[in-house]
Amino acid sequence: MKPILFTNVRLIDPQSGIDQPGKLLVKNDKIVGVDLPTTEGQPEDCEIIDGQGSILCPGLVDMRVTVGEPGYEYRETIATAAEAAAAGGITTMAILPNSKPAIDNPALVTLLKAKGEATKSVSILPYGALSVGCEGQELAEIELLQEAGAIGFTDGDRALANTKLMLQTMLYASGFDGLIIQHPEDPSLAKNSSATESILATRLGLPSVPTAAEAIMIARDLRLAEQTNCRLHFGHISTAEGLDLIRQAKAKGLNISCDTAPVYFDLNEESIGDFRTYAKLSPPLRSEADRLAICQGLIDGTIDAIASDHLPRDVDDKRLPFAEAAPGGTGLVTLLSVTLIQVKNGNLTLPQAISLLCCNPARILRQSIGTLAKGSIADLCLFDPDQNWQVQAGKLPGRAQNTPFDNRILPGIVLGTWKSGHRVYKREHS
């Protein structure tokens, strides 16, 4: 394989403190030169990619993804999710374990990693189940799962509700510095709900969950984290109240982190309009005040990472009366672009956005990826932030098409994605 020289690109890697026009050289699967000032060290026979001023950043690290595999292959397989990821500039996906069967067995962790390798375009970092079957009753074999390669433990989109079990799990995990990811939602308050408690939910007659459901679970787990000193991460934060609790806990120095998803800083509950099931999510879309608070959390750094929260659904899962429809939306292809809206509107700088999408999730998951540093694996994303594209459900890469952003015109086009030095996505000229 010829070495690849990227020229005429703006290199952005917040972890290395790089944000400058320059060149980058890839040999085999590694980055061997960054910002080569001259042609010195440049091999004679190499493939030259002229970025024409586009941005070259580390491949995105998406720390919250559901694929349909194993168990729901009709929704999405690892292979089809990998297509969508490549088109979205994502080179690493952390996969939730609440599949069928749940990833509560070391062999399944190994299988998922191998399936990721087989795609040759995206690494899969599996989360292990926190409880057996993700059912919240018995502690899973989490240290064995970690040994097999699980990068953290969670019950996916179910909160571990039993306080005693959560305390024991956190104590146990802290013994080997395991990472616990919580879906922060009190299940008894959230049961059967399909919207956030509001005038809109009342008007539409939809069963609703108060924002307190998020705050209550976060408050409980922060207390347990303080007691156990366990590494704790909250997934898809969606409320101002929940975020405030995390902000205060961080100020106290607790060992915690959190992410949010583009839907929670870009959309509010109005998107459900007259029963639009593609905007039915878990947690549900919140009020405009909550959305603005999430934006603020991105700006002030309380939120560490942005994850797609990709959750594939089939048409038949969605074409139902609202309360019966399955929650969740796809997000791999739109992750970068929806985040760039926050750059366009001045809330975030480009390096901040790339930190949230690449460096920070890699740091939380303790992976030496998400950087352009010399010697690191050449996982790269080349994108033009100034070109727009339109989301068209039915025509998106990957199998699942349940995007909540249908018809939106979004900034930022991924021109190319490289995994370990191999080009895995190239935008077709339109």
């Binding site: 939910a201 007659g205 007259d274 029963f275």
Partner: protein, 311 residues
């Protein structure tokens, strides 16, 4: 079809006061024709009306059936127990099937909020909402309004108290919207567990004490209390509920002396309403509501079907 009306009738929300007046005027006329047995039986001739009930209902289904027949439509009743829905066919499969049979009007009742809206996206027929989940029951609100208007000659300026399980009531939602649109003062009365926290933003003043809420009102609308509210822990018992939120003679006397007592039926006697009040010949208009129901549904079928009204 009256061009000013849309293809479907999914709710009171979005219906302007003028259209509500038109429907009420038409219904008033139909009420007279019903009594004289001179309804225009050719108005919906050659038109097929299918009532599609995914929830049990005797009175609403019968009322729509009568309304359709009095206008000359071919009426077919489908209910869950006799349809293939119980065999796993989805709502939309059923909709596609009925659409292929070229039904002109689909009257639907469903336990889920938004089910008629989903159906309306997929069929050519006019969809009439006969009650969806806890969302809307628009013909009930119209028949309530017509009943009130016949007694007071107007709607604006009246004070209406809706009492009971507001949180789970589509009747309450449609009535709150309609009565607000027509300039009434709306109160809602019930234990806090049965009143949504955001109800005041819908234009209804909440009262947690029935004695306070009922004072000086012109109309009292009682709602049916579902027994499952007890098992869900929203209220302790029917006994306690009746003690604090049941309508009896003493409480009725706190309202204006000519206040009307209404109930969408079916009644839970001794749980939300005392029999003496329910059957009071001067103040209870529960039977009149049923009569107006047929008239209102005739007006709705006329305005939302594809045929011009006869002069």
């Amino acid at each position: 079809m009256d061009k000013s009306f849309g293809q479907h009738f999914l709710g009171i929300e979005g219906l302007p006061a003028e259209q509500i007046e038109i429907l009420l005027d038409r219904a008033e006329n139909y009420a007279l024709l019903n009594r004289s047995r001179k309804t225009p039986r050719n108005l919906l001739r050659e038109r097929t009306l299918i009532t599609l009930f995914f929830e049990n209902s005797t009175r609403t289904r019968t009322s729509f059936e009568l309304a359709g027949k009095r206008l000359g439509a071919d009426v077919i009743n489908m209910s869950v127990s006799t349809s293939s829905v119980s065999k796993g066919e989805t709502l939309l499969d059923t909709a596609y099937t009925l659409n292929a049979m070229r039904a002109d009007l689909l009257v639907i009742r469903h336990a889920q909020s938004g089910a008629p809206a989903l159906l309306a996206q997929k069929v050519d027929a006019s969809v009439i909402n006969a009650g969806d989940g806890t969302h809307e029951h628009p013909t009930q609100a119209l028949l309530d309004a017509l009943t009130i208007r016949r007694h007071f000659g107007k709607l604006s300026g009246l004070t209406v108290a809706i009492c009971g399980d507001i949180a789970h009531s589509r009747v309450a939602r449609s009535n709150i919207i309609l009565l607000n649109t027509m300039g009434c003062n709306v109160r809602v009365i019930g234990p806090r567990t049965l009143l949504p926290s955001s109800i005041s933003k819908m234009g209804a003043t909440p009262y947690y004490s029935m004695d306070d809420g009922i004072k000086n009102v012109d109309i009292i609308m009682m709602l049916r209390l579902q027994r499952e509210r007890m098992s869900a822990g929203l209220i302790p018992s029917t006994r306690e509920y009746f003690r604090f939120f049941g309508l009896d003679r003493r409480r009725l006397n706190l309202a204006k002396s000519n206040a009307l007592v209404m109930h969408p039926g079916p009644l839970n006697r001794g749980i939300e309403i005392d029999s003496h009040v329910a059957d009071d010949p001067h103040q209870s208009v529960i039977q009149e509501q049923v009569e107006m129901g047929v008239a209102v549904r005739m007006a709705v079928l006329e305005k939302f079907s594809h045929i011009k009204a006869q002069p």
